[in-house]
Amino acid sequence: MKTMPKNQRLDFDQIIDKYGQKLFNLLLRLTGNYHLAQDLSQDVLLIAYKEYPKFRGDSDVFTWIYRIAINHHRKQIRKLRLKSLLGFDEVPSDVLSTAPDSDPAEQDEQNRTVAKAVALLPLEFKETIVLHYFQDQSCEKIAGIMGCSEGTVKSRLWRARKILARKLKSFVSETGV
């Protein structure tokens, strides 16, 4: 992936065509909510548009957008949890950490169960699993996106896999080699 020239505005038609689906899927897996994922994806693109002049070009554009997405999602979760905690707002339970139930793509029973198991992982494990398995990002890139060491990413990945293997035992043993 090429880094965009600094003096140029992001071409958002191109960004949406190229990365829109990946960004939406990232947020869909993280939020477990189809409509929230859509709103957050658009928020992320708006933030990227506003912040692009400050982008130093240390990484490729999409890694940078991933980072914005992860941070924006964390911020939203914190906000929703705080609201929920203070009783200001009734936060739909599926927004905080449960399974997607409104994603039209998840018709299949197994897919729904897997999505639910991923959605119920602790946030940092979930981010790691989603980036690695659903977004095909290497541990090195994930470390860059999440701002931690590669070792931490590997450790989180392993622990998340252990949790998932336990939760998805029936599917894992069915598929087992």
Binding site: Q21, Q38, P104, A115, K154, V172, S173, T175
Partner: protein, 235 residues
């Protein structure tokens, strides 16, 4: 039973292929074999998860939000230019000129009322019995201007005639009341469409309060109050 060879490898090298040696080990070690099968199956399941399509009209919705955001930013952005400085300055000059014209260029015109709360009529005060002229302008509010004594003036009894001016002309003398120390003295006063005058017969020395109340054509009441000090020994 407690072999961690494959586990350690998988933990440190997620997604990496096993070496021949490790493959051979996994064939013979039941713990490692089970773990490897389980992890391979899990990877297969996770990688097989379908990708969702972008929601319909995603691009259009994004474009609308971006346009909205740009518009709101534009609306609130402070862009200093000569107009933003000149306009308030001109407004100040005009306001100052109006004040000067009012007080300096027309010295014969009475000064601005001292206290003009609108509709501050005493509870038991009735302004009935209007005698308004049929050709009176109905939409002009009459202002009350104290003439004598001036607000907080000190006067003696010889000079004491309380006077106020009405401008523009008041049509209908029944709409005006004059109170001295909250006593209605309208019936003892001379009230015409331009003036109100009252000459007290006897008044104690000290502070006194005059209130003139007028009912405007729109039905609202306007009152003006001012005070004067009556000197001792001359009453």
């Amino acid at each position: 039973m407690n072999c961690h060879l494959i586990e350690n490898f998988l933990q440190k090298n997620p997604g990496a292929a096993l070496s021949d040696g490790l493959k051979q080990h996994a064939e013979n070690c039941s713990t490692c074999k089970k773990l490897l099968q389980e992890q391979n199956a899990l990877s297969g399941i996770l990688k097989a998860m379908p990708q969702s399509d972008l929601p319909p009209h995603f691009g259009f919705r994004f474009a609308s939000r971006m346009a909205e955001k740009q518009l709101s930013q534009k609306k609130w952005r402070w862009e200093p230019n000569w107009l933003t400085i000149a306009m308030p300055a001109m407004a100040l000059i005009v306001a100052f000129s109006v004040i000067l014209m009012r007080y300096e260029l027309f010295p014969d015109k009475p000064k601005t009322p001292i206290n003009t709360p609108s509709a501050s009529v005493p509870v038991n005060m009735t302004l009935a019995g209007t005698n308004s002229s049929p050709d009176a302008p109905q939409n002009t509010n009459t202002q009350i201007y104290p003439v004598w004594p001036g607000n907080e003036d000190a006067v003696d009894q010889d000079n004491l005639t309380i006077m106020a001016s009405l401008y523009p002309d008041n049509y209908g003398t029944g709409r005006v009341k004059i109170l001295l120390d909250d006593q209605d003295v309208s019936s003892e006063s001379i009230i015409d469409k331009q003036h109100i005058a009252y000459m007290p017969q006897r008044l104690d020395a000290g502070q006194h309060m005059v209130t003139v109340i007028i009912q405007q054509p729109d039905g609202k009441h306007k009152s003006v109050s001012w005070s004067f000090y009556l000197l001792e020994g001359r009453s």
